[in-house]
Symmetry: D2
Subunit: 338 residues, 4 copies
């Protein structure tokens, strides 16, 4: 940690910084420059809260030298982590496409969806039983029964199931239904109590990036899960908030190489929630695989026009099949498969 003092900082102020650092268990080193004095803190920087030093008189700026994240950091585990989901590897050479409708509607819809997902060559299925909706007056998901319908349909095709957990009180129900991958949605990325609870299980967790979360905040949210003992974390970028109004969110494709550098954990992309329109999905999905994503989360529906929610962003079975072919070609160009 480096503490930059203001130009006219007094000796007493510098001494107070040194004292505070020592009290926090790190060793201060003072360098007096021509214009400014700089204090370096040698030792375990994670013991020091930046804000407490910034509050001291004469301090202009405090800069961390070490990363605040530990278990999720690339330095913790040099090789890429491959997460095993009922025998299906995510994070390795094979790019995994997870697909399915926005929400469970009926058993018939689930059966048709599972069939389409499997036939397109996807190896995992995602559907929502509980839906986070902007308005309290719109469809909120079919609830617990949805988990059963989803499981019934997916099992016929050996598709592990991925679904969103919104309420910490529902975790036991998810475990009873043996949900294979728990998804934490964008609105709950910093719902720390929820993160701590899923951190106590061993279920793979897809952690969606918050609507306007920085890469650092996202990695720190994952650290909450990891600190509880659960290292099976999959990052999912789904578009972030921007000034642009033409589409719903701006897909942050740069996050892919950045996360590959900062963490050993896999990263997948959700092109459907990013753009918000089905016609944008193929271009965004191809971009994600080309940039090095380990997987995709794509909304598909046996009959998009009849979907109960987000009808405008789901692609149909034929579009999914065609897209899978393109994605396979791109994966091969960069030495992967799909």
């Amino acid at each position: 940690m480096i503490i930059i003092m203001t130009p006219g900082a007094s000796d007493e102020q510098i001494a107070a910084v040194e004292e505070k650092l020592s009290a926090m268990g790190v060793e201060p080193h003072v360098s007096r420059g021509i214009e400014r004095t700089v204090v370096g803190a040698i030792g375990d920087e994670s013991k020091v809260e930046k804000e407490l030093i910034e509050a001291l008189a004469g301090v202009e700026n405090v800069i961390r030298v070490m990363k605040p994240y530990k278990i999720v950091a690339r330095s913790y585990h040099e090789a890429d982590t491959v997460i095993d989901i009922k025998g299906i590897p995510l994070g390795g050479k094979t790019v995994q496409v997870i697909s399915g409708p926005c929400s469970v509607e009926t058993q018939e819809q689930m059966d048709a969806a599972a069939k389409a997902v499997a036939e397109a060559g996807c190896r995992l299925m995602r559907v929502g039983a509980f839906k986070p909706r902007t308005s309290p007056y719109t469809f909120q998901g079919v609830g617990v029964d949805g988990l059963t319908m989803f499981r019934n349909a997916a099992e016929k095709y050996n598709l592990p199931i991925v679904t969103e957990l919104m309420d910490v009180r529902m975790l036991d129900t998810f475990l009873e239904h043996d949900v294979d991958v728990i998804q934490i949605g964008t609105r709950n990325m910093q719902n720390f109590d929820l993160l701590k609870e899923v951190g106590r299980t061993h279920k793979p967790v897809i952690l969606k990036r918050g609507m306007a979360a920085t890469v650092k905040e996202w990695l720190m949210a994952a650290e909450y899960i990891a600190a509880g003992g659960n290292h099976n974390i999959i990052f999912c970028e789904r578009g972030v908030r921007s000034f642009e109004t033409y589409y719903r969110n701006m897909l942050d494709v740069t996050a892919i190489p950045v996360l590959k550098r900062e963490t050993h954990l896999p990263i997948i992309i959700d092109p459907s929630h990013a753009g918000g329109k089905s016609w944008m999905v193929p271009a965004l999905a191809r971009a994600a695989v080309a940039a090095g994503a380990d997987g995709l989360l794509i909304e598909s529906h046996p009959s998009p026009c009849e979907a109960w929610c987000d009808a405008d962003q789901a692609i149909d079975p034929q579009e999914l099949k065609t897209l899978m072919g393109e994605l396979r070609g791109i994966a091969q160009v960069i030495g992967r498969d799909l």
Copy 2:
């Protein structure tokens, strides 16, 4: 609701839109222009999900004519709503300043803080017992005991207590401790299960704006609380995410006149979390009152440099007292008091 068709939309496509609208319970009216056809939907627009119409072939754009929020809308209650907090009115002529430290530390700190808050002329006190922290490795708040220490200190000065609820499972504990105002933090603005639960109580709720939430999303989050029966909602703007890196968040002062127009409920401002530095607080607090805010949430600490968290953003008792004088002057200029 107005549906704008693409330039080449066919008669079949227009008919399909009409049919869908009728099925949803609104009456379609078709206007064929020179370049485009426009379909108006007459009736209760809230029955129609925008996305389901946008998914239809030949539809270019769907525009809502009515506001999606109901109970919180200005049209629901023309006069300003004044919320009664143990006899203290919030939302009326008097601007209320709520103050206190970032977190409960010790009983002594709480006692000193309550004394300073009361002596400065504030009528409500806020402190955190549970803290949402970016890192799992930093101080997470003292927990339930903090509520007791807070209550003990505040009661001596007749200060109603305001504190943040993060975990839905803690709501009963908050009710047992008779917390006077429940704060929902920025990270939980769209934690819909939490909103629904506080909506079942009758406690006043301070709903902080999400880090990058639009005014519309914020109003809809409040609608979740209101739909449960609890109309005692206070909006709190605390700075939003922006591209600027000089300060932590950008205080959105425009949200004050905008909310005054859109809702009958009070709006307060948190200048401390906005700027993130104590030296910015007076300017931002004055701006908020001048723009018409109904109250402020200001972090103060008996000894900021020794605070256990956010030390750099708390003002000290003397600064609070001086600021209160300036705010009173400004309130009077615009016909209010403080």
Copy 3:
């Protein structure tokens, strides 16, 4: 154009809107709904300024039905426009990679750079003679002599030259040096006098997106050039401003399918200025081609560590060559070549 009146709009207010619309040359059509009255304007909407209607009493919202851009709109020219740059087509089946150093330094550097660019298989070269720098105290480019050095080097390899015009007074000099493609930088996207002047030439123009420009503003900026008679416009997305601080700009890959839908003109991507670090360039470049970009603008330097500016974002000749191979593979997967 659709005008939505406030719930309590009076008959006089509605009549005033009708009158104003008629005066502007469009025909008003009033629909009185249960909650609100809506006025439609039939005719050439481009005659009506939105703000002038919004200023009328009782008007809540004014919505355009037609696109504000004309010549650049996809509807103006259904097929993709292919721009001819000294025999090299941009916007057709072949993806074009334009490369070169940030700035002209010396004749030797230019010669080495041109050689590397040609050997990697690129067909156009870009270098800056005039540099827009954030600070007045840093290197501002070598100036007019740079154009000569650039031309000398590029001609040996038959590479048309692309370079940035910052000052409208320099346009004649650019024409004298027969610059093949004029680049308008991000900071000048709405320098309307500059746009009007390049609109009077017939030189192909690369129009970089403004730092925080919406797609609509960008298309309208191009319309300024097109309205002058020059339709040889190439859009270039180079990352936009966001809240993220890990990298310089956020590459907006979604802009690719969006521009393909809205305009017939080509779109290229600058992955170098987007991320700002050379190690991010391959991932972003691959993503751009996969998403359907018509070309790329990639900074390369014969010896990046010795570059006079932006040294950290240029890739070296070997990296460029390797990347070209990957890009060719991806182009082929989606039915193009490179």
Copy 4:
């Protein structure tokens, strides 16, 4: 300047950094910590380009210790700079309100506007003769004749004139018409050639903040003007781009205390272009004065509904007069006058 090396940086890499720093004229000081090596650069940091160091192998991060701006920095001139505009001081104890219509229309309109501005108690007048419009098909300003009409009207009331310069080729015309204050608009904040030219005059310059410019970029843009010899610079915040769509721009009120700390030059606020609607203007104007702004730029029109552009954001003479009274009251509360 502080250079943080990557954890595994080799001795050769550290030596290369030392060598580069020495070659640039600063003295390197190496500190080897437990996890990382940090290199400090002692001397005139402005000689070192950050990017050139970041490009070196083994460098993780480069942090500036000194501010990049010099003449505009608070440290260059401890006291507030008061700019004299034909005898009217801007930047001192008195808050100055500059007002007038969006654009010159006719001599009659100018006369009525000048009368209203003077009668409301404003001491400077602003009107546009040249208008930067998003669309090439809308009214572009009346041009040079507008300067004459504006001057004629303003002179009767001894109002110095403020108007926008968009095209560097028009500067001489502005000087011939003796424009009192040259305004550089938001779209030209980084039009460096324009900045350099106005830097060679001695005319006071209002430098509007770019649509998404950081405080640092804005200060550096001013440094371009100052470096040419013209120190009569007035910063103008006019709202920045954000994700919010309810209003046009987000007024960044925090920029006021921040600029007061970073620069000795005055800062004024444009509440009209920020919100974009006349009903937001009073609240934003009051907030600006309460936060410490040195002046305001307010759009007013003798008859807003008949304005030729931006009709929805101008306030009328009576509203201006009422607002001036409120602003005077607020100014007095904080020890200023108006």
